[in-house]
């Protein structure tokens, strides 16, 4: 999308509101709700989408006024400071650009970054523009190694020659150019420690694949990159997580999308992605029971929530996983495999899984 186009969309939002004000109306923005109540799991495309429920935010309403002001302030800062100059800024930077005290008061326009972050997400829903299109980036928190060459800005990067650390995935991956990809699949893992293990073991070389990691939740940049690898290069994507409810959820976010970013599902979800492990079956097969960690009350509550999400409800395989998890009253970390030998994961576990196509849908 051309930059001028994004500017016009924001300007139109402003014009619409000043029109309302001119007519003596309470300025109001209507946009689709972004909460669980308005999340629809589209079975056909297998993605989470926003429903049609809308909420309105108006200025002359005590509980909306501040959020209204924040949204407009963020929009104006993005338009003036980022789009007009063509520069990018981090969420943190946007926070500081909007953070100021209203003269003669002790009221700040934003007090915490979560407020400006939220305003940006709202702005995405309001304008239909993605955060990346609004030139706002997030912290990069991921690495990639493997037989892939890409162009980042004006630099050509060969991800097979980047040592232990690998390529540091930027926050915005839309503009990366995938020059040459020579791999059979992509292995994405939630734990950087496992990434380092596999990289040291030259797993990607031996198995001709690409390794990608984040730390915990998958960032938008990584999700977008994985999606592009799946769509543009037709690579299978396998997800490797801890055998617990949070791992399951990380997988589901990559596959179906998340509640908070359901409005951006189209650009982020990868319905073809598969879950490689760790499963509860692995626990039994590889005799990891003694390495189980007892479920906490918090885990139990989260399981109860997750098994009822529409995108898990009809998934028999996953329901079975949760059932065993509850029966064993335990969860397992990927690192538990190290008990079998330091390179057990790269030499036995993963190759056998991939060979036998032991995946969860």
């Amino acid at each position: 999308m051309a930059k001028s186009n994004q500017k016009i969309i924001l300007e139109d939002l402003g014009k619409k509101l000043t029109e309302q004000i001119k007519k003596g109306k309470n300025p109001e923005i209507v946009f689709r709700l972004r909460n669980l109540a308005n999340i629809i799991y589209d079975k056909k495309t297998r993605t989470l989408k926003l429903g049609n429920k809308t909420s309105s935010r108006s200025f002359f309403n005590l509980s909306h006024a501040k959020k209204f002001l924040q949204t407009i302030e963020v929009a104006s800062v993005i338009k003036k400071e980022l789009l007009e100059s063509g520069k990018h800024e981090h969420l943190r930077g946007v926070f500081y650009m909007t953070k100021r005290t209203i003269p003669k008061t002790n009221v700040n326009i934003v007090d915490e970054q979560t407020e400006s972050d939220k305003a940006i997400e709202d702005l995405e829903v309001i304008t239909g523009l993605s955060r990346e299109e609004l030139h706002v980036s997030a912290n990069k928190m991921g690495s990639m190694v493997g037989n892939i060459i890409l162009k980042d800005s004006d630099d050509i990067i060969d991800c097979s020659k980047l040592g232990k650390g690998g390529y540091s995935i930027p926050s915005i991956t839309d503009e990366l150019e995938l020059k040459k990809v020579n791999a059979k699949y992509v292995l994405y893992m939630e734990k950087a420690a496992i990434f380092e293990r596999l990289n040291e073991d030259k797993f990607w070389q031996k198995n001709n694949c690409i390794l990608v990691t984040s730390q915990g939740q998958t960032t938008r940049g990584i999700r977008r990159l994985l999606q592009r690898l799946a769509e543009e290069e037709s690579l299978p994507i396998y997800v490797l997580c801890d055998g617990d409810v949070y791992g399951a959820y990380i997988y589901s976010v990559v596959k179906y999308g998340s509640i908070a970013l359901a409005h951006a599902s189209e650009r982020l979800t990868i319905p073809s992605v598969k879950y490689i492990g760790i499963t509860m079956d692995d626990v039994i097969k590889y005799d990891l029971k003694k390495h189980l960690i007892r479920l906490t009350e918090q885990d139990m509550a989260r399981i109860k929530q997750v098994i009822n999400y529409d995108w898990f409800k009809d998934n028999k395989e996953w329901q079975r996983q949760f059932k065993i998890m509850k029966e064993l009253n335990g969860k397992v970390e990927i690192q538990a495999l190290s008990a079998k030998g330091i390179s057990f994961i790269s030499e036995v576990y993963l190759p056998s899984k991939i060979k036998n196509k032991e995946f969860l849908e």
Binding site: G24, F60, L62, I72, E73, K104, I109
Partner: protein, 547 residues
Amino acid sequence: MSLIAEELAKSQREISISEFFVKNKHLLGFDNPRKALLTTIKEAVDNSIDASEEAKILPDVRVEVTQLSEDRFMVIVEDNGPGIVKEQIPRIFGKLLYGSKFHRLKVSRGQQGIGISASAMYGQLTTGKPIKIISKIGKNKPAHYFEIHLDTKKNEPEIVSERIVDYNQDHGTRIEIELQAKYQKGRQSIDEYLEQTAIVNPHLSLIYKSPENETREFPRATNQLPKESREIKPHPHGIELGILIKMLRETKAKTLQSFLETEFCRVSSKVAHEICQTAGLYEKSHPSRIAREEADALYKSINQTKIMSPPTDSVIPLGENLILKGLKKEIQADFYAAVTRPVAVYRGNPFIIEVGLAYGNNIPKDEPVRLLRFANRVPLLYQQSACATTSSVIKTKWANYGLSQSRGALPIGPLVLLIEITSVWVPFTSESKEAIAPYPEIIREIKLALQDAGRELGSFIRKNVRAKEQKEKVDLFEKYIPELASSLSSLSNEKKSEIEENLQKILKKGLKDLLVENGIENNAENKIIKENKPIKQEKQKTLDELE
């Protein structure tokens, strides 16, 4: 063994009342130098107001405290009361337990007749100086001047000096006591005592010259003397066994029947007959011949017999009007309320509970409410936590009335609470008359009064808070408008001033409706409570609804 008893007998002797009190100063409120000063002034002022009221004179009282040296003070209290006849002066000021108040059941400030002579004695013990009195009983009568010492062994007055002097008013009494003391402002100070006295005695005119040489005037708020309460005989249900036995021994009545009828109130011949029958006693028995066991039976029978409540004109309340006048005079607040309960009875003693409250304005917001406790119009400054009024306030659920309150604590908020008990016999927890004893009937009445007043307060707070919230709302929008206008202007490329102007217009349109709806200007400022009105929840219109 007998030898030891004889030995002991040598050291056993009568203890004079004065000697007893020398050793037990704290019982009378002379625990420390600061309290001694307060107690002295308190006893003198209480006496002055009591005497004036009995003589139907509007009291003018002047209090002067002068610091003579670091720990030595001179207290002068002067009134325009009826004066004291010459013969009585030595005994009133120089003998403990002498007076007219102990032997009767009538609402009065002092009760035991210990007060002023104890102050004189304390002064004498700490400085060696006698109490000095001038008293005059009428226009053409001489003014008598006395200096009196108290013989603490014999509990008898010793006249040090006596003469006739010039005195520049028609009648009245002036006393002068020199004592070792300490002056300190703040809680439990003379200043606080006088201020509170002025609140519940709006007919009193008081001038106070402090040791710091400041003169404070507490002007009279009404020329109406409080109605005099009637002296009553004890009610049978209020009598304890020991007192009953004493009364039986001392009565002039010749028969049990007439003893019951004449010594008590509300005992008709029918009731007296019934009491005797239930007790299994002969009506014509001579009261002094009633044995211990028989008295016991009589006591039980009295308490089993249904007897009409004591006459209520024996306790005259201050009244809601005067409470409000007193509060407004001394405490600046946004809202006042007062409640006078009907007469109730504990142990046969009639009493009335009254509650007043003042809320808002300069009263500190984040502190526990200030409690002003009164018994027969005398401020109680000490032992707040031991007092029935305090426990009643704590047991009342103030959260219902818009104040915050932790469990087992006084509520927090800008509130002054006045609680007054009026009774022919106020039950104190000790002789120093500092805390009211927690009789269930008394606690119940206090709570009912607090609830009544609390409901009115609650409805005021709700209304007030609502008005405040509306104002804050408007303020908030006013602050946000320039900010929004500036962001919107850079977003839309429209003129900032125009956007701001238009936003102000929208706010003003809504604002006018808001103010009318909530009546911010005409908040009920002062209100007298006559009855419990159901709390109306007015519909609240918000800016959102105006849209």
